[in-house]
């Protein structure tokens, strides 16, 4: 058994690069919202010394076009499908889950609980998960922001509300200024900070949540090597997702999978999964095929 490797939501378009999607153990879609969203004005990305900022603004075709046009094509790919959804109210999440529940092509639903305008207090996240839970029997993964005062408490709240797993972590808000003008580089000012700088933050969140709840965890944040993935597994992740690294290296997943196996073996574990069971007892994420 190996550790499943996924993409982080919003970091790969499987319809443009199907080969890349099929290197993953599951493909996670860009977040789908009830209505189409054009997203934020450009510039939307800025590189920093240790990572990058993005303010894409949840650009997506909306649930109707997603189900009618995108999902049938995604279902043809040889990879299990996770659909990320986002909204601005509990009723948005409920409506989206009701629509997705009817579609057998979808293995898992990931709840993006880190939208702008959505309260990130533990009870608010739990309310969104509870609303989603009522509408679907599909495995529900709650994707949490690292910018919370006590992520373990949020993890307990969403577990009690019926989440089947956690996706940890989303980007953290950051700002960069143009060195000449000292004006914000991104048109919207702040953006989500990702890449290697996020690694210790993600590691701490996975560690804190794996100690707090019994749910499987997809760990992500700045993973660029098998050693980074191994650290997340040691902290309690049962699967690992790749984000920013996919921008620079489309074929990062096979390399990281190989390096992860080598790194586990080099430390005396038969597999990375042995290390995980050593680290915590949580099971493999539902909806991910494991070897």
């Amino acid at each position: 058994m190996s550790v499943p490797i996924l993409n982080a939501s919003g970091c790969l378009d499987a319809l443009v690069a199907p080969d890349v999607a099929e290197t993953l153990d599951a493909f996670v879609t860009k977040t789908v919202t009830p209505l189409p969203r054009e997203g934020n004005p450009p510039p939307r990305i800025a590189e920093t010394e240790l990572g990058m900022l993005n303010s894409i603004g949840l650009q997506n075709p909306g649930i109707d076009a997603f189900l009618d046009e995108h999902l049938p094509k995604l279902a043809e790919l040889a990879v299990p499908l996770w659909v990320s959804i986002g909204g601005f109210s509990a009723s948005d999440y409920a409506e989206l889950c009701a629509r997705l529940d009817e579609r057998d092509e979808i293995a898992t639903v990931e709840l993006n609980l880190s939208c702008p305008n959505v309260e990130e207090a533990p009870e608010a996240s739990a309310e969104l998960v509870a609303a989603a839970r009522e509408q679907t029997k599909k495995p529900l993964y709650a994707k949490l922001s690292p910018a919370t005062w006590n992520i373990a408490e949020t993890a307990r709240a969403v577990a009690d509300a019926g989440a089947d797993g956690l996706s940890l972590v989303n980007t953290i808000r950051g700002l960069s200024l143009d060195p000449q003008t000292l004006a914000p580089t991104l048109a919207r000012g702040a953006g989500g900070y990702s890449g290697p700088a996020l690694r210790p933050i993600a590691l701490q969140c996975v560690y804190a949540c794996s100690g707090a709840v019994e749910l499987p965890i997809v760990g992500m944040g700045g993973v660029t090597s098998g050693s980074d993935a191994l650290a997340l597994v040691a902290a309690g992740a049962s699967a690992v997702a790749l984000g920013t690294v996919l921008f620079a290296e489309p074929a990062a997943a096979p390399r990281i999978r190989r390096e992860l196996a080598e790194a586990a073996t080099a430390r005396g574990y038969g597999s990375a999964a042995d290390l995980r069971s050593n680290a915590n007892e949580s099971s493999s994420p539902a909806g991910v095929s494991t070897i």
């Binding site: 450009p42 510039p43 990305i45 800025a46 590189e47 650009q59 921008f247 620079a248 290296e249 489309p250």
Partner: protein, 238 residues
């Protein structure tokens, strides 16, 4: 010099615009062309693609690669003209013969080469794709504008170029009946050209993190909607 993790074997990615490969390639040399640098890498198994398509070049020490259109395609090589304007382009211009960088491409949509009486129009570093384009069009004439005489040294890469220096602008020299205009340059130049020659093919520019449709970072307004330039462009018919 790998930015992210260890060297990977070469790989091919099938994209809507064709197959692109990513390989670790040796740097053959970096030559000054006026204030710009011509970064020459071995071709490896990469196709040069259609003029106007671009490649993502690993910028040593940086998180993200940088998009560069192909400037020249001599046998066994790919050459990119780079203006050192920021940390990524400075890292590329600081490469030395014998270094190795990952190169991914060709990406995006290039110029339509099935044109009558082509006229190439470029401004500043927008000259970058023109030498390869001129070559593929059998030595098309070009109009190139620059801010400084030093920048204008880059016109030596284009055998049939008429050069203008600011305050004169290339748009002032567009003939009454220009034929098929294929252009690359700063946004104000492209916007002005679009007004003058509605049929022009224009190569646009945007910051890109991935170059293959993954990040949604490079959107520009096309036909009233924000679309990814790396997938819809970078060459667009006006």
């Amino acid at each position: 010099m790998t930015t992210l993790g260890a060297a990977t074997p070469s790989d091919t990615v099938s994209l809507g615009t064709g197959d692109a490969r990513r390989e670790l390639l040796q740097v053959m040399g970096v030559e000054a062309v006026g204030p710009y640098s011509l970064v020459r890498v071995e071709r490896g198994g990469l196709e040069p693609g259609i003029p106007g398509q671009f490649f993502m070049l690993e910028a040593p020490g940086r998180i993200l690669p940088r998009p560069m259109s192909l400037c020249l395609a001599p046998a066994g090589e790919l050459a990119f003209l780079v203006d050192a304007v920021g940390p990524g382009t400075r890292a590329l211009c600081s490469l030395r013969r014998g270094d190795a960088i990952h190169v991914f491409g060709p990406l995006g949509n290039g110029f339509d080469l099935a044109v009558e009486r082509p006229l190439l129009v470029a401004g500043g570093i927008g000259i970058a794709p023109m030498p390869y384009l001129a070559d593929r069009l059998g030595g098309a004439p070009a109009l190139v504008g620059f801010r400084t005489a030093q920048q204008a040294e880059a016109a030596s890469l284009l055998p049939r170029a008429d050069v203008v220096l600011e305050p004169r602008l290339v748009t002032e020299l567009i003939p009454e009946d220009p034929g098929s205009v294929l252009a690359c340059g700063p946004e104000p130049m492209l916007v002005a050209l679009r007004e003058l020659v509605p049929t022009a093919q224009l190569a646009w520019e945007a910051p890109m993190a991935c170059g293959y449709g993954a990040c949604y970072g490079c959107v520009v307004e096309i036909e009233g909607r924000l679309q990814r330039l790396c997938v819809a462009g970078p060459v667009l018919s006006s």
